[in-house]
């Protein structure tokens, strides 16, 4: 549907990639760990190595949770827009097919939050 308007109604989107100074947005959520109230939003250069995202910003963002240190990254299940996907830690975000404003989630089988409560 088009917006009802008195005249031409066309405006640039507020969050197109060109506005992020070379970065693109990536959203990351950890399944079954609602201690973090929402998925996180990060601005990363598309050339950033996927493994560096996990070791750096993800460690900083999720590291408070006692489960984080116990993650076996070989067993982690990844999802992009809800569909299962695999990421190569040595390749960049762009090479892994990640675009501006993509949302990825990870599941850590066996780790289900504080006392198994999904917190």
């Amino acid at each position: 549907m088009a917006v009802a308007a008195v005249s031409k109604y066309e405006f640039a989107p507020a969050d197109s990639q060109d506005k992020f100074h070379g970065a693109q947005l990536l959203y990351i959520g950890w399944e079954d760990h609602l201690l973090f109230c929402a998925p996180f939003a990060f601005p990363f250069p598309p050339t950033m190595r996927f493994g560096d995202v996990v070791d750096g910003p993800m460690q900083a963002a999720f590291g408070y949770h006692p489960d984080y240190a116990q993650i076996d990254w070989a067993k982690v299940e990844w999802f992009k827009s809800g569909k299962p996907v695999a990421f190569d830690f040595d390749k960049s975000l762009a090479e892994n097919g990640l675009k501006h404003k993509d949302v990825i989630r990870f599941r850590t089988p066996g780790l289900n939050g504080i006392k198994g409560s999904c917190s």
Binding site: A4, V6, A14, L35, F40, A41, A61, H100, D102, V103
Partner: protein
């Protein structure tokens, strides 16, 4: 001798006719569509503006007299409250965070409502709704003023209230109420009336004002309580106007029904999402609770709203479909919201805390299906960590919903363990939503919502630092720069209540008032 016959005084009805309808005229040398340019494009058809009934028949001169009297009373009560150091009689200093939330989240909306009703009134060709909108527009600016006056007293003693309007336009969570109202005032006059006049003022207002005003009464805040009572007669008039608007539009043309239904669906959901803030206020922020959010929703929406929609069924209007999802969320909403503010306590202009043991017992009793299972383990963990000096402050910015602008905190309907993710591709970009309802609202008018000023994205674009900030210098601290931009003083206005100046000062001042120290 000629007798001087006193001119017969006009009756109420005649007086109303002369002072409202009688002030209208038909233009002769300008076209109606040039004078009222926004009246047709939304697709609403009005055939006879005189069918508008104003149940109050209030005229401007009577309005003036009546409101002046009410405000004289309000200000004398406020004076007495202030002079007797009434602020020291609130239940405990945690209560003041409710006042901060109200002042920075709600009072600025009263002002925007004033502008919205002035605009809508200007656009309606019928004199009846025009006068009603004019009065509501004045009510709204009076409410903004009296709220600011009532709360300014607290600003002398407590933190976080010093720049509420600046905060309203900038602070991340305040974009939720702000964007809600911006969405309404940038719609056409009919949608504005359905969104604010009906959906907000009629359907949802009891869930906003009753909790705040009765919360004030229960917690010893006479100032806010008196404001609430003073505004009550206006609110009754606003509710009546809201209902009259809907009935009038629906009776004018059957083609209006589907348009109005869509607006009711949209605005009930939009309004409900804003009420997330009220839900957590009721269940967590009032030291003396009035009722739980769940109970309030059941009484004010499910019972009262249910009766209303039964009444509107004869026009072909049905209960908004979102009511089903809201019913599923009522066991979770306030807990998910409070967890969010506990997470981001470093970035807000008020304090948060973990409920104590008694409060957890109250929550478990009010929410037997959800609290102990889903939320207590999280809270106990946070409490243990805080006791060890490791209080959780989430410093990574959250993903937001494109429509309601709330962080993506809401869980799948029926599964409180899974965050609800929805997305849409539009013109080569992805857009994300917290729910099917926010997604549908976007899909209906994507051109509007792609412009959303999402605080998280704006921060990452570099638009939320004080002027002259260089984010490329070494050791740049983005959170510190953003707090400066918000005019929130770190360590004073934010963080946990336990370490706050508010808590310390209140204890000291109350001690002086009640003990010989």
């Amino acid at each position: 001798m000629d007798m001087q016959v006193a001119k017969k005084k006009l009756g109420l009805k005649e007086r109303y006719a002369v002072m409202t309808r009688g002030l209208d005229w038909q233009p002769s040398y300008q076209k109606m569509e040039d004078i009222y340019p926004y009246i047709a494009y939304e697709g609403i058809k009005i055939h006879d503006w005189d069918k508008w009934e104003d149940p109050f028949r209030l005229t401007m001169d009577a309005y003036w007299k009546y409101q002046a009297e009410k405000e004289r009373k309000l200000y004398s009560v406020l004076d007495a409250y202030i002079q007797s150091n009434g602020h020291l009689n609130v239940t405990d200093a945690r209560y003041l965070n409710t006042v901060k939330l109200f002042l920075s989240g709600i009072s600025p909306l009263e002002y925007v409502a004033h502008r919205g009703f002035a605009h809508a009134g200007r656009q309606f060709p019928g004199p009846g709704p025009r006068v009603a909108c004019l009065m509501q527009s004045l009510d709204e600016i009076r409410h903004a003023q009296t709220q600011i006056h009532a709360i300014s007293n607290y600003n002398k003693y407590y933190n976080g209230m010093h720049d509420f309007h600046h905060a309203h336009d900038r602070v991340w969570f305040l974009s939720v109420p702000k964007s809600f109202f911006d969405d309404a005032i940038t719609a056409g006059p009919f949608e504005f009336m359905v969104s604010i006049g009906f959906s907000f003022e009629y359907v949802l207002t009891n869930l906003l004002f009753v909790p705040f005003v009765s919360g004030a009464a229960y917690n010893g805040d006479m100032g806010t309580m008196t404001f609430g009572f003073s505004a009550q007669s206006d609110e009754a008039r606003h509710m009546t106007l809201g209902l009259e608007v809907i009935k009038f539009i629906l009776e004018q043309d059957p083609a209006n029904v589907p348009i109005v239904q869509r607006w009711i669906d949209k605005w009930t959901w939009r309004g409900y999402r804003v009420l997330t803030l009220v839900a957590m206020m009721m269940d967590y922020m009032l030291p003396k609770r009035t009722m739980s959010w769940k109970e309030a929703w059941e009484v004010y929406f499910e019972e009262n709203g249910g009766a209303l929609f039964k009444d509107l069924a004869r026009y072909g209007i049905t209960m908004p479909k979102c009511a089903e999802q809201i019913a599923l969320e009522k066991d979770h909403l306030s807990h998910q919201a409070w967890s969010t503010f506990y997470n981001y306590a470093a970035a807000a202009n008020f304090h948060t805390w973990m409920p104590d043991e008694d409060e957890m017992a109250w929550l478990a009793a009010k929410y037997p299906n959800s609290f102990n299972k889903h939320y207590r383990p999280r809270y106990e963990f946070w409490r243990e960590q805080a006791a060890k000096g490791n209080r959780f402050y989430n410093k990574t910015l959250p993903m937001l919903c494109q429509t309601c602008q709330i962080p993506m905190i809401f869980t799948e309907p029926g599964d409180p363990t899974k965050i609800c993710y929805r997305e849409v591709d539009y013109k080569g970009d992805k857009y994300h939503f917290c729910s099917d309802h926010c997604k549908e609202i976007f899909e209906h008018e994507p051109e509007k919502y792609v412009q959303a000023w999402l605080p998280v994205h704006q921060i990452y674009q570099g638009n939320c630092f004080p002027e002259g900030t260089d984010p490329t210098v070494e050791g740049f601290d983005p959170l510190a720069a953003v707090l400066k931009y918000y005019n929130v003083e770190h360590g004073r206005d934010n963080l946990d209540f336990d370490i706050s100046e508010d808590k310390k000062n209140f204890a000291e001042w109350r001690g002086q008032a009640t003990k010989n120290i």
